[in-house]
C-alpha cells in the first residue's frame, strides 16, 4: 500500500469512528436530555370547562295563574338522566324579581333516576313539602314546573314522579296526587309569554 493509500484508509477509519460516536453517544444523550426537559416542565392542571346548553326553565307568569318559560344556559349532560339533573339544579336556583320561582327555598335535588319507559324519578329534599306555601294552584305550579322542566328539556323523558327524601309521597301540600309519574300539561304554561319560544308540551 502506498503512502497515499494509507492516508485514505486513515481518513475513512476516522470518519467511521466519528460517525459511530455521533450515532451511539451524542444522539442518545440529546434524546435523553430532551426527555428530562419535558419531564421537568410542570404540567398544568386540566381545565375542564363545563359545556353549556340552552334550556327552558319555568317561573310564575305575570298574572300568577300559570307558568312561563324562560330560556337559560345550563350545564350540558352526557346522558338524559344527567341532563335532567342539571336542568333541575338550574331550575331550583333562586331568581331575582320580576321572576318568581315556584320551588320552595332550600329545596335540593338529591338524585334523578330514569326507567326504560322514560319515567324519571326525581328525589328531592324535604323542603319541597315542608316549606311549601300551600294552595292547590301553588302546588300545581310547583309540580308542573318540575315535570315540564324535565320533559321539555329532555325529550326522552315522558313523565316525572316526585319523591321526597327517597320516599313516595301522596302530595306536596294536600292536593296534587304524586303517587304516579305525571305527564306534562300545556294548560299550565302561558304559551304567549315572550320568552316561551317554540315549547311544545305534549
Amino acid at each position: 500500500m502506498t503512502t497515499r493509500g494509507w492516508r485514505w484508509l486513515l481518513v475513512v477509519v476516522a470518519a467511521g469512528m466519528f460517525s459511530a460516536w455521533v450515532l451511539f453517544v451524542t444522539v442518545p444523550d440529546l434524546y435523553e436530555n430532551n426527555q428530562d426537559t419535558e419531564a421537568m416542565v410542570p404540567r398544568e392542571a386540566p381545565t375542564e370547562l363545563a359545556r353549556l346548553t340552552t334550556a327552558t326553565l319555568f317561573y310564575v307568569s305575570d298574572d300568577g295563574e300559570r307558568l312561563m318559560g324562560v330560556e337559560r344556559n345550563v350545564v350540558e349532560g352526557d346522558a338524559p338522566v344527567e341532563q335532567a339533573r342539571h336542568v333541575l339544579e338550574a331550575q331550583f336556583l333562586g331568581v331575582e324579581p320580576p321572576l318568581t320561582s315556584t320551588i320552595p327555598e332550600g329545596t335540593l335535588v338529591r338524585a334523578v333516576y330514569l326507567t326504560d319507559r322514560g319515567d324519571a324519578f326525581v328525589n328531592l329534599s324535604r323542603e319541597i313539602s315542608s316549606k311549601h306555601s300551600g294552595g292547590s294552584l301553588g302546588e300545581l305550579l310547583t309540580v308542573y314546573t318540575i315535570v315540564n322542566a324535565v320533559t321539555v328539556n329532555v325529550p326522552s323523558i315522558r313523565a316525572v314522579q316526585i319523591l321526597i327524601e327517597g320516599r313516595e309521597v301522596d302530595t306536596l301540600a294536600g292536593h296534587v296526587d304524586l303517587r304516579r309519574p305525571i305527564t306534562p300539561r300545556a294548560e299550565w304554561v302561558d304559551l304567549a309569554s315572550p320568552e316561551v319560544g317554540d315549547i311544545t308540551v305534549p
Binding site: S133, L140, G174, V176, D177
Partner: protein
Amino acid sequence: MVGERLTHRVRWPLLLVLCLLGTVLQATDRPTQAQQQSLTVMMATGHQTVAVAQVNNRQMVALSDLASVFGLSVQEDSLADGLTVAYRDEVVVLPATQNLASVGGRIVTLPSPPVRTSSGWYVPIEFLDRVLGLVINTSIERRQQSGLVIVGDLRVPTVDVGYTVGNGRVQIIFEVTPPAPYTIEEDQQHLLVKFEADALDLSLPEAGSGSLVTSIQRGPEPSWLTINLGSEYASFQSALGNSVTGTSTLLVSVLSESVTSEITAASTPSQPSVNETTPPLTELTAPTVVRTIVLDPGHGGDDHGAVGPSGVLEKQVTLQVAERLQRAIESRLGLRVVMTRNDDRMVRLDERAAIANNNKADLFISLHANAALTPLPAGAGVSYLSLDDASGTSREGSDNRSVSVLGGGLRNIEAVSWEMAQISHIDQSAMFAAIVDAQLRTLVDVRPSRSQAAPLRVLTGANMPAVLVELGFLSNPNEEQKLTSGSFRETLVQALFESVVGFRVHVEQPISPEVGNAFWEEP
C-alpha cells in the same frame, strides 16, 4: 360517432319542443267551473273568499287571487321554466314541471306542479299552508272540512252543535275545541251565545222548527251564535264542562214553563240562614237519586293548609263554610249531609274518600281555599279529577273480568281499583263542576279559567261524582279579608247550594238521549 353527434344535436331542440308542447297542453287546461268551491281566508283585518277550482282532478286556486289577498307579485320566469312568487324580500320559485317549490333555498313538495289555464296560473290548495306561510312568515292553518284558512294567531275554535229534545226542554250541546270563554245574552226571542274568539269554525245541525227552539244560526258577529226561541220558551240554564281531551262542552238547556217552575220550587227559599224559619220539607221536591252529600272541609289539625298574609288559616275557613252549607242543604233540601270532619283534626286523604264511600254518598264536595305564589290571583274556582294523571292509562283503569258464580258458569264483573273509584264518575263530576262554575260566576268573582281537570289526590278514591271547590285565594289580601266575612261566606254557600239543586235537577230529570231527525220536535 355520427349518431352520437346527431343525438347531441337533436337533444336540446327536442327538449325545447317537448317543453313547448307541454306548455301548450297545459294551456288547454280549464278549471272546472261546475265543481268550484271556495276557501275563506281569515286574517286579523277581516276575511276574504278565494275560489277553488278543479284542475286536472285536483283542487287548485288561482295565483292571481292569492296575489290580491296576500299582496304577492307573480312573474313568469322563462329561463327557469317556471314562476317566481315574491312577497317583500322572500321569493318562491315554482318550476312548471315539478311538484315542488323552492322557498329561500328550502324545498317544499306539493301534490302537483302549477298549471297554466286560459285564466292564468293555478297552484294546489296545499300551496297556502305549505309554502305561503313560510313566505309571509306567518302561520297559516287550512281546515279541510270547513274550508277555512286561518292566517296568524287568530282564535277560531271549532264548534260542533248537537241537541237532545224531551221532558219540556231542549238541551243544546256545543263542543268547543279549543275551549273558548263565552257569555249568553237573552232577549225576548233569541239567546245570543258570544264566544271570546275571532270567528267560529261552525258545524250546525240541519234546520227545523219546534215550540221551544225554532233554529240555531250564525249570529250577527263572526264569533256569535243565535238560538231562535219558540213560543213555549220560559228560561234557560247553561253549564260548561272541560274535558281532558282539550274540548269543552257547553250545555244550554232551553226550558219550558213547567220545567222552570219545578226548578224554581226546588231552589226556594233563596237566602240560606240558620236563623230563618225552615220551610216545611213537604214543599220541596223529594230526592230520588241524590240522597246523601259528603262535605269535605280541607286540611285540619296540624295541617293548616294555606295561611293568608294576616294569618287566616285555610282549615278554619273550609270548616266554617262547610258547616253553613251543611245546615242549608239539610234544612232546605232535606238531604243527608255527612262531614268528613266536624272539628279541627287531621283526616287522611284516603279516609275522606272512604267516609264518602261507606256512607254511599251521591255527591262529594271538597272545600278548600286557594293560595298562589304571587298575591295577584283571585277568585273562586272548581276542579274535578283529570283522568290521564289519575289512572296513568285513562279509562283503562277499570277491568272487565270473568268470575265463577255459585251453581256454575261465569259472570262478567267490572273490577275497578279502590283508589281509582272516581274514574267511572268523571263525566258526572265534570258536569257538576260546570254547574258549580256557572253558579259561582253569578254570585262571586271567579278565576279566569273555568272548571278544570287536575290530578287531585282527595278525589281519586271517591266512588261518586266529586269536585274540589276553591272558595277564594288566601294569598290575595283582599280575598283573605272577604273569606273572613260572614256575608261573603253566605254568598259562597248560596252558590254551592244552588249548584246542588242544579245537579239534582240534572240527575233526577235526565234529558232523553235520543236525537231525533225531527228537529226540535217533542218525542
